[in-house]
Symmetry: C2
Subunit: 165 residues, 2 copies
């Protein structure tokens, strides 16, 4: 755990853990991009995160109990998983993206996922957190009523919004 | 407006505007503490924000369209108001505090407001945003069914949780 918090306020606690220019984007790429390895996170970064910053943020998120790192045998790559605390950052990412949708312009293919979540509302977020528990924590998948799961639907919304060049 | 964003992602847009160790705490103190002047924000800061950091963050939030500053006659103090974009950061603060409530310890009197919001759910957040529109934007107050408004209820929850010394 980190040094003593600046105050006992729960908003401050979250800001201390997540309030910087990169941590929430790393979580976004793990959650929505299903990227679990350092090299994928580095190569796939839309915002061009630097290698040393990515390494520092991953370490910080592990220390904060938001990610866990599975040790890999010598010469193989370590794999990052969300903890339950990490999975529960999804409503924070949702709230941030919802604000961005209303108050900033952006690319249609990057807004499509957020628009889908807004249209579907809280039950979709809950179902996505269940899917993340199955993917990251090895929880038994919740029975679904058929059709694609939340991550597949998000990826499909993203692909559909990419205009042909 | 700021320089070009790092990407067209709506989550990134919000992180660029709000992702630092202080901006969201300044908004918290304006929203929940009803502090509208520089000196109140400085003197009342639980986390001990430094004067130069507070000045820089207020400037950044005005530039980002999240706060507006009312010019004051010479010798008087300027007053900050939330814009509509600023009022709509409340769901972000709520999501952060909700995470902090579950994943960090803290002081009962600082957790009481967040616990009230969690218990009351989304309609309370909506009513509080309406109250902020009346306080900050001069909107006509929405008719209420009697009883104290959201800010008064939050302050009362906070006071009740302060244990006698």
């Amino acid at each position: 755990m980190d040094a003593a918090p600046r105050s006992g306020c729960p908003i401050n606690a979250a800001v201390e853990a997540l309030g910087d220019q990169w941590s929430l984007l790393v979580l976004r790429d793990i959650i929505f991009g299903d990227r679990r390895h350092f090299r994928e996170l580095l190569a796939g970064s839309l915002e061009g995160i630097a290698s040393n910053i990515l390494a520092a943020r991953l370490r910080k998120l592990v220390t904060a109990g938001i990610l866990s790192k599975q040790d890999a045998p010598r010469g193989q790559r370590g794999r990052y998983s969300l903890t339950e605390a990490g999975i529960q950052t999804l409503p924070i990412l949702y709230a941030l993206g919802d604000w961005g949708l209303d108050w900033r312009t952006g690319d249609p293919e990057l807004r499509a996922r957020q628009e889908l979540m807004r249209a579907e509302g809280r039950p979709f977020i809950e179902a996505f957190m269940d899917e993340l528990r199955a993917r990251h924590l090895g929880a038994a998948p919740k029975p679904r009523t058929g059709g694609p799961g939340p991550l597949e639907r998000l990826e499909s919304a993203h692909r559909t919004a990419i205009r042909p060049h």
